[in-house]
């Protein structure tokens, strides 16, 4: 996947902007990465390389820190952000099955974004509505009792732009509890 020249320039100039406000040393690494992600939505490889170069540390150190913390992502958020809950209640109720279904249907792994950037998939911890487990949050909207059939329903809804129809609330998939 080759990145268009203009996108590269945007990344480099944005990272340059961020770095202006920091002391260029290893201690600034985490706050710099947070700011970069705030601006770009994720940490592109090019951005991490620039941060490493300007802070004067090996690129692998930047990658090591970024891959340690859940808050950093290496892929751009999709137009539709799908977050599968892997909190205790959801995990036990089959959250992994929901995640597997999304991975299979979207042909990406957790933490990735589809090539057309339409969907991104990630796992989150308890989102606070365990009674509806397993829970999936789609574009900030909570879907409960997500079975593999419901996964198909959710994706179909997003494809046809009718996300509001047939959520977990109306009982679909509930018989599987």
């Amino acid at each position: 996947m080759k990145m268009p020249e203009e996108e590269r320039e945007v990344i480099l100039s944005q990272v340059g902007e961020v770095l202006k406000d920091f002391r260029l040393s290893r201690e600034s690494l985490i706050p710099v990465l947070q700011k970069v992600q705030e601006k770009l939505g994720y940490l592109p490889v090019l951005a991490m390389e620039k941060v490493a170069g300007d802070l004067g540390i090996p690129a692998v150190d930047v990658f090591g820190v970024a891959s340690f913390y859940n808050q950093f992502r290496f892929n751009p958020p999709g137009e539709n952000e799908i977050k599968v809950c892997m909190g205790t209640a959801c995990y036990i109720a089959g959250g992994k099955i929901a995640l597997d279904s999304f991975e299979r249907r979207l042909e990406i792994k957790e933490g990735e974004t589809t090539a057309d950037r339409k969907y991104s998939l990630e796992r989150v911890a308890c989102v606070g509505c365990c009674t509806m487990a397993p829970v999936v949050v789609v574009n900030d909207k909570v879907e409960g009792h997500v079975t593999p059939t419901r996964v198909d329903g959710i994706l179909l809804g997003l494809e046809t732009g009718r996300q509001n129809e047939g959520t977990g609330r109306d009982g679909e998939g509930r018989q599987n509890r």
């Binding site: 490889v45 490493a52 692998v60 990658f63 340690f68 913390y69």
Partner: protein, 214 residues
């Protein structure tokens, strides 16, 4: 500054320089204590392998010898029931996500895990813990060596060699938890990293994870 101290390890009187780390004092005096992660010149050791436990008189619990500075009149025991239990458990945990195939391993015979097993009468197999097979492919991309992450014990010796001795910065710890491993920037193969193939990391590796090609 460097006052000399006298301590007792397993009944043997030993002289050392105050401030030295107990583990290396013992090793230099021919007393074996299992260890994988300790680096002599490291002021603050990571103490991550959990194999170098000893009991020190006056301390209620076993402590890691790689983090203890020697003091005058210290009395140390390297083998006690508590120590043996901790080492056994730590060793089994290490083996539980280790691709154990000594017969075909390039490090067979010179491996520090085998050394620990031999010295402490431990078995080289996973007992109580469910094996967590690591299916990470071997990186054969360098001309002179290979990296088999499935045999890595995450001791950090290679990172020290790469970052502080060779001063290259090709490898480090990446990810967290069960996915933690030694890696390169963006998970590139070593050939596409800044690695210069100086070989220092390979020489530092205590097990069969980093090995020279023959």
């Amino acid at each position: 500054m460097s006052a000399e101290v006298t301590l007792t390890i397993d009944g043997q009187q030993v002289k050392a320089v105050a401030g030295e780390k107990l583990l290396f004092v013992a090793l230099n005096n021919g007393i074996y204590i299992p260890h994988l992660c300790a680096i002599a010149e490291e002021e603050r050791p990571s103490a991550c392998c959990r194999l170098c436990f000893v009991e020190i008189e006056g301390l209620s619990r076993p402590v890691t010898a790689c983090t203890q500075k020697v003091r005058d009149k210290m009395t140390v025991r390297t083998r006690t029931p508590k120590v043996d239990r901790l080492v056994k458990t730590g060793f089994e945990l290490l083996l539980s996500d280790h691709r154990l195939q000594c017969r075909t391993c390039p490090k067979n015979g010179a491996c520090q895990l085998q050394m620990v097993a031999r010295e402490r009468g431990l078995k080289l197999k996973t007992g109580r813990f469910k094996p967590l097979a690591k299916d990470i492919p071997v990186d054969h991309s360098p001309e002179t060596f290979s990296f088999d992450a499935g045999r890595c014990v995450l001791c950090g010796q290679c990172v020290h060699a790469d970052q502080n001795i060779a001063r290259v910065g090709a490898i480090n710890f990446i990810n967290r938890g069960l996915k933690r491993k030694i890696g390169t920037f963006n998970n590139r193969c070593l050939r596409d990293s800044p690695c210069t193939e100086c070989g220092l990391c390979v020489k530092a590796c205590p097990v069969g994870a980093l090995t020279f090609k023959t």
